[in-house]
Amino acid sequence: MFTIFQKEIRSFLSSLIAYMVLIVFLAGIGAFVWIFPDTNVLDYGYADMDTVFRLSPYLFLFFIPAITMRSFAEEKKSGTIELLFTLPVRDWEIILGKYLAGLALVLLAILPTVLYYYSIYQLGEPVGNIDTAGTIGSYIGLFLLGAVFTSIGIFASSLTENQITAFILAFFLCFIIYQGFGLLASLDDSTGFSYLVVQLGIEHHYATIRKGLIDSRDLVYFFSLIFLMLLLTKTVLGSRKW
């Protein structure tokens, strides 16, 4: 598994797309937090990182499918998947290796924003007037959200040998799971049903964690989604054996 992880990281680092995605993500977030008039923290008046955590999921919608779209689609297209699946490793080791490599890249994208925390901490009046617990919770939430998106991206990539299809599929699935259920639940409904629907979406659980409250129900939700997606990936890749 570690060998696959290593290989994937190397291939990310030797391809332009990883750098481009990282730069665009960080430049985008940076611009929203510090420059754009409607969202920048300087005019906003409150020393918090709300902008980062509110906008990152939307950037992740583009960014994560872009890094995961290659993972299986390219192997399928070039035929190397046959090579991989005839080496003495189990299918789940390959899936996990690829998944963790994608996740590592997501982590790499999030990490530099810790600098913003430090800056905003210093800019507070008085210095240090920032909700640290909330920020840590938000980081955990954002990471879990990224982890779910990555698993969705890997799954989408296993379905097709076309990277563009994988990208669009992953984007669409991520959007539905992130916000689709919430939007559906906002339909007028006098019964309690919409509350059930809203809980299916990531947005609801992400919002809870962002308050700094790490509830086991939310963790179970995130981990089950990741597990489900990776299991589906394994099923799709195993379908050659049917």
Partner: protein, 304 residues
Amino acid sequence: MSVIVEQLSKIYGKQKAVNNVSFEVKSGEILGFLGPNGAGKSTTMKIATGYIPPSEGTIRVCGHDVRKDSMAVRQNIGYLPEHNPLYLEMYVKEYLQFIGNMQQIKGKKLRKRLDEIISLCGLEREQSKKIAQLSKGYRQRVGLAQALIHDPPVLILDEPTTGLDPNQIVEIRNLIKEIGREKTVIFSTHIMQEVQAICNRAVIINLGEIVADSAVSELTNLQKSESIFLLEFEQAVALEPLQEIEGILRWEQLTPKQYKVFAQPEKEVRGEIFKMAGEKGWVLLGLRQEENSLENIFQQLTKS
């Protein structure tokens, strides 16, 4: 026996890609696995390497059953898939190192093995190039090196010479011959000369079934049921009188002046034909016996 194929069948939907195929390969043998495109060669090889499971029957590699002990089988096999898939963005050495790691070879042992395999496959000058920069012949060597990195007792090569130029074909063949001295090699192709050039034994399959399994030297004896003569005359003639010659079975007209005559192999009919041509006043320009070549045998065996 290092590879045993036992009553192997693979069914895709309603189509039987491989139908009750059994054969064995001894260690140290180079087996040519022949058949037209779509005969089930690749399917059999994919089953042997554990990529897809058999529908019925099984394959045993060095005593391990692909159905029960897939990981052990994979460790004992070096596999070069059809079309030789490679990670083009990787460097030659990096790629071989990756495959070596996947085969659980690490550290010093791997470095030593890398040097060995690079020199065996003649990749010294190309080892620090990107695979994408290599010509097809060198890519094929990288594919072979990849299959050999863990020093497996069994080597499975799916059409390793397709798409190479004649010089490269000879080079790859020599390499396979060299490797085949110590290992069991199963080697698929649809080119008969290739089998003649490097294999000890050939298994020919067609439409998923074995149609021949014999030593290459005996292959030419397989289809001696009739000998074929090519006759050419100066003018168009009617050959009906040939019926009188004992041993002649039938004939086909190729062009108005050329005929293909089929005869029983144990009778010598050429003299009679000459005599008859003299009597009838036919001007015979040529009479040539057609070699029962491997190509012919292949065609006869795999006619659908």
